[in-house]
């Protein structure tokens, strides 16, 4: 009842106003003769249009025309319309009513829209500042989810983080296992389900499976799971939802960055620990071997007064101690490589790397013929000198082990596109075809005495440089071929 009254009130005011102005004009014209008093009606219509819109304004203008015509236009007391000028007056009044009400209505709409926008941005601003202030991103995310379900069309809004490939519900309630699977699928394939977002606007897609199953939207580091009622959505709400999703995206990303930083700190600490353990281990293992070798070799002089067979025994023991030392060194090198190796890459000439390795092994290489085929114009390689030095010494030691006592060892290299292809070859017995790949496996060895570590280390170092290594049987004997990256900058002079 009151609603009907309120609806009708503007119309009554329109008619009442027209009557009041008619009375006022009548009063004025009875005293003095003032022309153009009908303009008062215009004021009324303007006001009605601005205040209540088209209906009351049109009612007011029709009422005003009828009253004016009846009371003031001769013949007074009739409603006849004579001549175009009176018709024109009516048309002007109606036009004013329509135009002002239209203008006023769009003004009112614009004002209403800007008020919602202001409210929306206030909400977003509060959420964003709260998110920045709280150290726990999850708290801010929960606030965000609460805000989202306050929208009339959104009945559910949950956020799932994807931490290193693992789905973890963060805010807005738990998910069923099925929903977790669906969210994971959506994230991994980067494909939204039932919803799309573009240019800051959310759109529900036709494939939206209805209110029963939620829609999934993959974000940079998580998934937004939401249920939206298709009948109730308003453009303003969808805009707000899009803004909330954008904010959730940022917050999830911030959370992931924090997590990754934490994880990196953990890794760093464990790397330092590993390095410390390895260095203490190498000291503990190598110190006794050092004393052994120093003591054994101390007695290998005539002044020590030992018999030849006693000396031979000492030489044998020293050789064993050396073997033990090499084994410990290989094991430590391998565990260092496994602990994660940081390469100190610089441009190096391949010939110099070979020269260094040959110099280090010069006493072992005595009696062997070593041919090096490394042309002067070989471009430099971008490698860690010490690690690649280890590859070369290991391959040379391997060749020494298999080549006949005075056998030949060949080292060489050619440039191939972005890589240098290098090889070490000996004229020892061929490797069984089935073992060509296995020789690089850790602890795999062709001899009872080998540690099975040397070639495994080679493989790791070469692969850490982005190269490959392989074994093959050539006409002369087994050849180990590996690739190393060429230096990008040829020379800095």
């Amino acid at each position: 009842m009151s609603l009907v009254l309120r609806r009708l009130a503007p119309y009554s005011i329109a008619i009442g106003g027209a009557i009041a102005i008619t009375v006022a004009i009548a009063l004025i014209t009875s005293r003095t003769n003032v022309p153009g008093l009908s303009a008062f009606y215009l004021l009324l219509v303007l006001w009605l249009g601005a205040r209540w819109g088209r209906g009351p304004a049109v009612t007011g203008s029709v009422a005003a025309f009828l009253l004016y015509d009846f009371f003031f236009v001769p013949p007074v007391g009739t409603l006849t319309v004579r001549g175009p000028s009176e018709l024109f007056e009516l048309v002007v009044l109606l036009a004013v009513a329509l135009v002002t009400s239209q203008l006023a209505a769009s003004l009112r709409r614009a004002q209403a829209a800007s008020e919602t926008l202001a409210a929306d941005s206030r909400v977003l601003y509060e959420l964003a500042t709260a998110a920045l202030r709280t150290p726990q991103v999850t708290v801010a995310l929960s606030m965000l989810c609460d805000q989202a379900v306050r929208l009339a069309s959104v009945s559910r809004f949950a956020l799932v983080a994807m931490d290193f490939g693992e789905a973890a519900p963060l805010a807005g309630g738990d998910l069923t296992p099925d929903e977790v699977r669906q969210a994971t699928w959506s994230y991994e394939n980067g494909r939204p389900v039932g919803i799309s977002i573009s240019d800051g606007a959310v759109r529900l897609t036709k494939t939206h499976p209805g209110a029963e199953t939620p829609a999934y939207l993959p974000l940079a580091s998580g998934v937004a799971v939401m249920r939206i009622d298709t009948d109730q959505q308003e453009p303003g709400e969808l805009r707000m939802l899009a803004a909330l999703i954008g904010l959730a995206d940022l917050l999830l990303d911030r959370r992931r960055v924090a997590l990754e930083a934490e994880r990196a700190r953990g890794f760093e600490a464990s790397d330092r620990l590993k390095a410390a353990i390895l260095s203490s281990l190498s000291h503990e293992l190598k110190s006794p071997i050092a004393s052994l070798r120093a003591g054994l070799t101390a007695l290998l002089v005539p002044q020590a007064g030992l018999q030849p067979e006693q000396q031979e025994l000492l030489v044998d023991l020293d050789r064993q101690a050396t073997r033990l030392d090499r084994l410990v060194g290989d094991m430590l090198a391998l565990s260092r490589l496994e602990a994660g190796l940081e390469l100190d890459k610089e441009p190096h000439g391949f010939a110099e790397l070979v020269g260094t390795a040959l110099h280090q092994l010069r006493s072992d290489l005595k009696g062997h013929e070593v041919g090096v085929d490394a042309p002067d114009d070989l471009p430099p390689v971008e490698v860690d000198e010490l690690q690649v030095g280890r590859v070369l010494t290991n391959l040379l030691e391997n060749a020494l082990e298999w080549a006949p006592p005075t056998g030949a060892i060949a080292v060489g290299a050619v440039a191939r596109e972005a890589f240098l292809e290098a090889w070490v070859e000996n004229d020892g017995p061929a490797i069984a075809p089935m073992d060509l790949d296995r020789v690089f496996e850790t602890f795999w060895t062709r001899r009872a005495r080998g540690s099975g570590l040397g070639l495994a280390i080679c493989k790791r170092v070469v692969e850490a440089h982005g190269g490959t290594i392989r074994a093959e049987n050539r006409r002369r004997g087994p050849r180990f071929t590996f690739t190393l990256p060429l230096a990008r900058v040829i020379a800095k002079r």
Binding site: G295, T356, L358
Partner: protein
């Protein structure tokens, strides 16, 4: 040739082995187990060579090296288990004359000791001609010959070779070479020294894959064979 050798090592077994081994080679040997004792003994006994283990308890090898340098003119050979290249460079920059990696054989150690003693003797006589194989570097006349044939080097190449020759047999670090050849405020890196060494080798007819004169010390620098 003989001399006084001070062994600084905290392992008693190592001390005993070295004392025995080096005495057979006619060296006088004293052995101590800490850096503090080493500094005292270096001043009191005046050894010719100090074998300094880097892994000492308490005052570590580097601190000992720093304390030793003003106290003695003895050659210092740093001894260490698996030293990182950075440790080697640091020891050399702190004034060590050479380094030996543990474990080592007595013969190898004796060779190193004799080499530093020989170098000390050469420096004290001020011999202006350094000879290694058929390479001859006449520091007085600034001339370089291989088998009597003169070799023309640029000033930079000569400076680098001269510095290596002045320290023949001793590893010289990249940073020292940069500083000595290009000046105190040299801007550059190992690539500069590598490039110049490659040029010198080419002119000397020294094969980098089988060097006769200039040997690469991986991760550290270069050494002129003496």
């Amino acid at each position: 040739m003989s001399g006084r050798v001070l062994v600084v090592d905290d392992e008693v077994e190592m001390q005993r082995a070295l004392r025995t081994g080096l005495r057979y080679h006619d060296f006088e040997v004293h052995a101590v187990g800490s850096g503090e004792e080493a500094v005292r003994e270096a001043a009191a006994w005046r050894p010719d060579v100090i074998l300094l283990d880097l892994g000492l308890p308490g005052m570590d090898g580097f601190a000992t090296l720093r304390a030793l340098r003003p106290a003695t003119r003895a050659a210092v050979i740093v001894v260490s288990v698996m030293p990182g290249e950075r440790d080697k460079v640091r020891a050399l920059d702190l004034g060590a004359d050479d380094y030996v990696v543990k474990p080592f054989g007595t013969e190898e150690l004796v060779a190193r000791i004799r080499a530093v003693l020989r170098r000390q003797a050469d420096v004290s006589t001020g011999e202006p001609v350094v000879q290694t194989g058929d390479l001859e570097i006449d520091l007085g006349r600034r001339s370089v010959t291989v088998s009597g044939r003169p070799v023309h080097l640029t000033p930079t190449e000569y400076e680098l070779l001269r510095y290596l020759a002045l320290h023949a047999g001793k590893p010289v670090t990249h940073s020292t070479l940069l500083r000595q050849v290009w000046g105190e405020y040299a801007v550059g890196d190992k690539y500069n020294t590598r490039y110049v060494v490659a040029q010198i080798r080419k002119k000397l007819g020294d094969d980098p894959a089988n060097p006769r004169f200039i040997v690469n010390e991986p991760g550290v620098g270069y050494r002129l064979v003496s």
